[in-house]
Amino acid sequence: MTAPTQSVERSAVRQAWRPNILKRAPVRLAVIGICVLWSLPTVGLFVTSFRNPRDITTTGWWEALFAPFREAQWTLQNYQTVLGTEGMGNAFLNSLIVTIPSTAIPITIAAFAAYAFAWIRFPMRGVLFAVVVGLLIVPLQMSLIPILRLYGDLGLYGTFLGIWLAHTAFGLPLAIFLLYNFISQLPRDLFESAAIDGATHFQTFIRIVLPLSVPALGAFAIFQFLWVWNDLLIALVFLGVGAEQQVMPTALNVLVGNRGEQWHILTAGAFLTMLLPLIVFLLLQRAFVRGILAGSVK
């Protein structure tokens, strides 16, 4: 029996066993209630970010929803302020500069390593792989002090190169582990026939392993992208809060410190930091779920 028919059959059975409508009403209400409750905080932030500063502090954001057509209360000024004078535009660029290489580099390095661990024989392979997986247990707090000192000596503090390497290294154990699990499951025949055709390992990797591993690579990419984009700790420690290099989470944190009660700025700033991850999440939810399911160790 093939998997799809099985699942159709399963859901049909499930459907048949669901209790009748009357009995189901409380469950439906509960689910709707939970969904509303879960979304309210975010909706509040979103609505507030478009309101006039004066309205924000005199009436609750929910009151704006009851009179949505009172146009004077809506404004885009908050976003203009945050992007311009508060430096969020700059932080957005910095976040992109940090995040894209910090996603691409570990995937590349991990894929090569995972292929070697899975399909090439070499001395100490088992020991080295065990060490790599074993490093999953190290919380990154253990690395902060020595690496910070090292960066001081090497002049890497506050540089993009420094933070890429840090994110790359911290992401590697999980990346190698997940990609190894996937790549080692590829059929052996592929590699045998590639070897017979005289392909080098590099060619085999580029032409066979990479194209076949796209689902695993993609899942990890989304995972790592969100992790790096949302990271505060590593950015604070290795990039610092200097206006030149700050990324979105550090910039938002600075806003909280300086503009603690100015909610028109805070809400707009917070929403900007969430924008890209939310788009990625909503577009690639299925791949993201795969990544989360597989990457639940970090």
Partner: protein, 390 residues
Amino acid sequence: MSDAIAAKGRETTLSRWLMPLAGIIGLVVLVVGLRVLADPLAGQNLLANIYDLLGNEAGADQLRRNQGDLLLAKILLAFVALIVGVGGVWLLYTGMSAIVGLFSPRLQERIIPWVFIVPALLLLTMYLIYPTIATLVASFTDGTRGDPLRHYRELTTGPFLALFRNNLIWLVVGTAGSVGLGLLIAGLVDRVRREALAKTFIFLPVAISLVGASVIWRFVYQWRPEGQAQYGLLNAVWTSVGFDPVPWIQTAPINTFALIMIFVWIWTGFAMVVLSAAIKGVSVEVIEAARLDGASERQIFFGVIVPIIKGSIITVATTIAIAVLKIFDIVYVMTGGRFDTDVVANRMFLEMFQFFNDGRAAALASVLFIAVLPLMIINVRNLRRQGVGA
């Protein structure tokens, strides 16, 4: 046939020398690019040099004084960064493989696996293995004045015990809250139509950074003195049912729970997704059999389904427990550890950057390491047994 072989021969002689050459050029470009990017003011300096070449000395001067076309400098840097960062790694492997390709096949076979794994091993050694040892050593030697256990002994006194108490509250409430709610919601959404839509609502906060979530909830917890308009959602509801407004963030011990709520809000979605997948895997026959025996829906869920998916529940719980123990962002952004809400990871950060007591920070990190260790071992074992792949 022979043509093909001849063509292949020509191709190999050509690529035999061209590829390594390209590889060497690539490595040089990579090294130069890295030199440029290792400069905190890389963007400005790069654009200033270009302006010098173009004869725009005024523009170059301005940039060197941190003025002028800074946005352009940033965008230029972004491009260089992407090319060097993303392309550079590929050049590295291509170049190395090409150089190895010059050796005899037997030698190649022995060298190539190391070309593939050495970059990973170097980074792991530099960023994880060496620092772990250095941090452990520092916790016994840095600023201990000849008394190796000094930091650890201090951690068992007064204010530091509050850290561990708070971390323990976080561990219990945060883990139980996320897993419990996640399990409950997973069970509920399994029985409604539009399940995927409902799940999206609950799962969405996973994509939001802890800093962003902290701002969202700071607004929910916003407090105004009595008599003023309560525009924070929680106090608005709280006062509308007749209570006095409460400064949730400043009031211990309720504030720690208010912070944990943020964590639960984010992680419940994760627990729900994993547990929902597990519930879907429970065989229909088993559930049917229980129904025929006259079990109620609740009995089926807690008596049949939950025991079957126990393994997944443990995996989810350990994963969340690890995240809870390392919690930093929420506390740092919401209170900075004040109002009796401090936790180990936040305190470690403060020791590093505010009190400049690296030895004590190292001891705190080591405590965290030891606390996470058993959970992580359970987790890695679980994952290896299941052979979970993406």
